[in-house]
Amino acid sequence: MSHATPDTATPGAISPGTTNRVHLDNGGRAPWHPLARQAFEQAVADGWADPRRLHAEGRRAARLLDGAREAVAAVLGARAQEVHFTPGHTASLHAAVASASAARRRAGSAILTSAVERSALLNAARVAGRQSTVPVDRLGRVDAEAMNAAVRVPGAALVALQHANGEVGTVQPVEAVHDAARAAGVPLLVDAGASVGHVAVPDTWDLLAADPADWGGPAGVGVLAVRQRVRTAPVGPEDEDPWAPGGVSVPLAFAAAVALQAVEADRVAQEARRRELVEHVRAQVSRIPDVEVVGDPDGRLPHVATFSFLYVDGEALVTELDRNGFAVGSGSACTASTLEPSHVLAAMGVLTHGNVRIALDRGTTADEVDRFCAVLPGAVARVREMLAVGGL
């Protein structure tokens, strides 16, 4: 505990509470794109009414909602009528799993997932049917052969595979699994919540969930696309809008769509810029002693980097970085309310303690990344010093 003045002793450090904070925890909750804010205010003024009402105000709101649906559909390679707004990404996954598997009750009850799907999806699968997990390798990539073999076994109601893992960045073989699923007549649900707005999205899906809060749009609204050929069965109480009982917020949906259009406009440039920064971070971090840089080095999201430090308390490291002005995420058990480590890191067989996860925003600068790389080795060393692990 001999780190009396880390804020002054650390190169690049920033005092907490200043506006100079560097926020590197943008996965699933990024700052709003400026155009999303404008769109939201416009839609509050013009689209506050209930879009299901028949008067002029209602019709105006309905037009904004239709426009939002068309804009999202164009990006996803879907038809407008295939795109539904939901109360959020978790709600999208819950509803997709429940209603797609309910429609295939006669075919079977098995719901095949990779081991590294989001907890919301895994939990929904356990409720809706007989959840069956396909393992991943050390890089976090699902064994496509094993998944395809499982799809061919009679009794599969649904197969779910994320486009990319938001915790470790690894991109999954969605195309190969979709081929096998199609051949077997089993619908494929793709969780693209960590990838839409950051990389091009494949059109090899039957249901696809995307997360506005991840691409610079608002939280409190989600996107679920369901191909017209896919059968679904309503599972909750009857409602005019089964994907969002009671209807969605038009301003939130409109802001989400405008944000998506805005980030798609320069996505390729942003992808290249952030990929370079992430490669720099991964190279710099790998020079710190006793670290595992996690996830696929090549087939990965451009903006996510994850690493685990041996003999480091994840909670202490997140706190130490926060004191130095840097907000980061962690999959370590001590940083979770459940005290369970990240099921993603566990499934990969990588170190779960001492974990740090960063997701670069479109606004994250090279200078901010350099400052993070300058501060991190000292922060790790101070946390290790507290645990007296020298020489182990």
Binding site: L310, Y311, D313, S332, A333, P341, T352, G354, L387, L392
Partner: protein, 84 residues
């Protein structure tokens, strides 16, 4: 358990990363081939001890889960490693 106490690291009740640190401290200076078993109630240790083995070139031999017992005995894991 007393007869093998020298090769057992009792890290029950300790949270990550302390079980792995206790194991590493116990392993220090022991000859290759020694088997050590770490007892832990922390759910991270059953993943992190095999990862430590991989990073340090040791061998993960086995992981045995102990269910929680009625009374006060909490559930946990016994992870055995062979030092190289």
């Amino acid at each position: 358990m007393t007869c093998v106490s020298e090769t057992v690291v009792d890290a029950r009740g300790l949270r990550c990363p302390l079980p792995v640190i206790r194991l590493a401290a116990a392993a220090k200076g022991l000859p290759a081939g020694t088997e050590l078993t770490v007892l832990s109630t922390d759910p991270a240790a059953r993943f992190d001890v095999p990862a430590w083995c991989r990073m340090r070139g040791h061998e993960h031999v086995a992981t045995v889960e102990h269910a929680a017992e009625p009374g006060d005995e909490a559930g946990g894991w016994a992870v055995t490693v062979r030092l190289h």
